[in-house]
């Protein structure tokens, strides 16, 4: 287990108290001092725009920005030229779909072609696909979960993906059930038909090691704020050979190699996709967050989370009237447990827990189709990170028992 003293690295816990059980990490993680310091250094010591200034501060800012890109590339097994900075996973997903939509692909979309995604996608991944399907007259197909479970139906995936499939989009882990998907298996099938494979890694990144080559995907994206980075920053990774044939998703300064009254030509990736002044402090902060996580070790973070998940499953199971919306296998869970309590609405659970110093989330977690597939309305969700402790789980369990007491009628 990771030492409890790690909370000292986070000003949030000094402010809110070390005893707060912050179990809303799937919504946003906390920020370590090192990340705040990194961003402060930029704003207070070398604040300038990047890539264009011929003076010391701009050179420093550019170096810090590109250094972060290199760190993130290494972190996911990619090349720095394959990392595009965005405003977060939602922006990544939208920009990627616009890029594909704007481009003349070697294997272009034809009316009636298919897009395969899953019922467990976050709305940020799903809605851009729905809109693309609408614009290009593609058929959007949903891979379901197995009856009575939360795991994807992989055998069905092998049937659903065909020569008509142009895009396959699947998340690496569900932000509701915590289920880690076998993305590599789906990517392999998709590639036998030449489909483009997109992976939303937002719920998984920073919790398990990620290697884009092992996953075998073409595009992958995530937000920085769920892995100790600042809000408003994220990345889109794409295979170099694909990125360099794609049109930009947004247009502006800093992305053109040539421009005239008649039109413009683009720089190579990633510059062609980063029009305008980016979130420089955010990029630097995200780079510092990666350094921070790597100093702890992703494998150590994973082991810590697995032990918390095991304990949480064991403790929750002892409570009568509880329904755990997850596969009760910690090895397949990213660190997210959603649950229902008989006769108590998830919002009431969350409100009572908040009074007990336990921060969880209630609702649909931007994954309505998954809730429909599970035939449930909202859920209460506890999500863990490496600074959570066994005491946090005890507080969660105690709070749930209090909620049951309040509603005992």
């Amino acid at each position: 287990m990771i030492s409890k003293s790690i909370k000292n690295n986070f000003p949030f816990f000094n402010e809110q108290g070390k005893n707060i059980a912050y179990l809303d990490n799937a919504a946003s993680s906390q920020t370590p001092q090192a990340v705040i310091d990194g961003m402060n250094a930029y704003y207070s010591k070398f604040r300038a725009n990047i890539h264009r200034g011929l003076y010391d501060a701009s050179e420093k800012a550019s170096a810090a920005y590109e250094d972060a890109r290199a760190k993130i590339a290494r972190f996911i097994g990619g090349d720095p030229k394959e990392i595009i900075f965005t405003a977060g996973a939602t922006a990544s997903s939208n920009i990627l779909i616009t890029m594909l939509d704007n481009s003349v692909l070697p294997n272009p979309f034809v009316s009636g072609d298919e897009v395969v995604t899953t019922v467990m996608e976050h709305h940020s991944s799903l809605i851009p696909l729905q809109k693309l399907a609408e614009r290009k007259k593609l058929k959007l197909k949903y891979l379901d979960i197995l009856k009575g479970g939360v795991s994807l139906d992989y055998e069905e995936a092998e049937k659903m993906i065909t020569a008509k499939t142009k895009i396959v989009s699947v998340c690496l882990a569900s932000n509701v059930t915590g289920e880690i998907n076998d993305v590599a298996r789906i990517a392999k099938v998709a590639h036998t038909y030449g489909a483009i494979v997109i992976c939303d890694a937002t719920a998984a990144v920073g919790h398990i090691p990620i290697d884009v080559k092992t996953l075998g995907v073409d595009f992958l994206y995530f937000s920085g704020h769920k892995i100790c980075g600042p809000t408003g920053i994220g990345i889109l990774w794409g295979k170099k050979e694909l990125l360099n044939i794609l049109e930009p998703g947004i247009y502006g300064g800093g992305m053109v190699s040539e421009i005239s009254k008649e039109g413009a030509k683009w720089k190579e990736a990633p510059m062609r996709f980063e029009a305008g002044t980016p979130n420089i402090a955010g990029v630097i902060g995200l780079g510092d967050a990666i350094d921070y996580l790597e100093a702890i070790g992703i494998q150590n973070i994973r082991a810590h989370n697995v032990s918390l998940i095991k304990k949480t499953f064991a403790e929750l199971e002892k409570i009568s009237g509880i329904q755990i919306v997850a596969e009760k296998n910690a090895e397949k869970n990213i660190g997210i447990i959603s649950f229902l309590l008989e006769g108590i609405h998830p919002h009431d659970i969350a409100e009572i827990l908040s009074k007990e110093g336990v921060a969880i989330r209630a609702g649909y977690h931007c994954a309505v189709p998954l809730h429909r597939a599970l035939n449930i309305s909202g859920t209460a969700r506890a999500s863990f990170y490496f600074y959570n402790t066994e005491e946090d789980i005890d507080a969660l369990i105690k709070g749930i028992k209090i909620a049951k007491g309040v509603f005992r009628k």
Binding site: H347, I352, G363, F407, K409
Partner: protein, 127 residues
């Protein structure tokens, strides 16, 4: 006011909500979704010949605050006429609930009120 929002009356209304049923063929009806959680409710109202509420009912699941709010609101508006309905304000709902409602739960507390507003907006258009 007590800090605890889960007072006896809230718990009672949640466990045994008043007027939670379906009025078949109700003239006035509005569905509304709680933006916080996505829960849906439907409010139905019947007016008599004098323009007063002769019957009112609601359907749909939700948290204790929204269920209690709907239960109390439906009790309150029985017999009121259009003008009296229009004079109702969010403050009346908070007073009826009698517990502190944080800004994050205002949508829950006012779910029934929002449905009522929707119904009232539609009435002049119909006439």
């Amino acid at each position: 006011m007590n800090e605890n929002i889960y007072q006896e009356n809230i718990i009672d209304h949640n466990a045994h909500p008043h007027n939670k049923r379906i009025i078949s063929g109700a003239r006035e009806e509005a569905g509304i979704r709680n933006p916080l959680c996505g829960d849906n409710i439907i409010l139905q109202i019947c007016f008599d010949r004098t323009g007063s509420v002769s019957d009112v009912a609601f359907q749909g699941e939700g948290c204790a605050i929204s269920q209690a709010g709907l239960s109390m609101l439906t009790d309150k508006i029985k017999g009121l006429n259009l003008n009296q309905l229009k004079l109702l304000s969010p403050g009346d709902i908070y007073t009826m609930l009698g517990v502190p409602i944080s800004p994050s739960r205002a949508n829950c507390a006012l779910l029934g009120y929002a449905a009522l507003e929707k119904i009232l907006k539609n009435i002049p258009a119909k006439k």
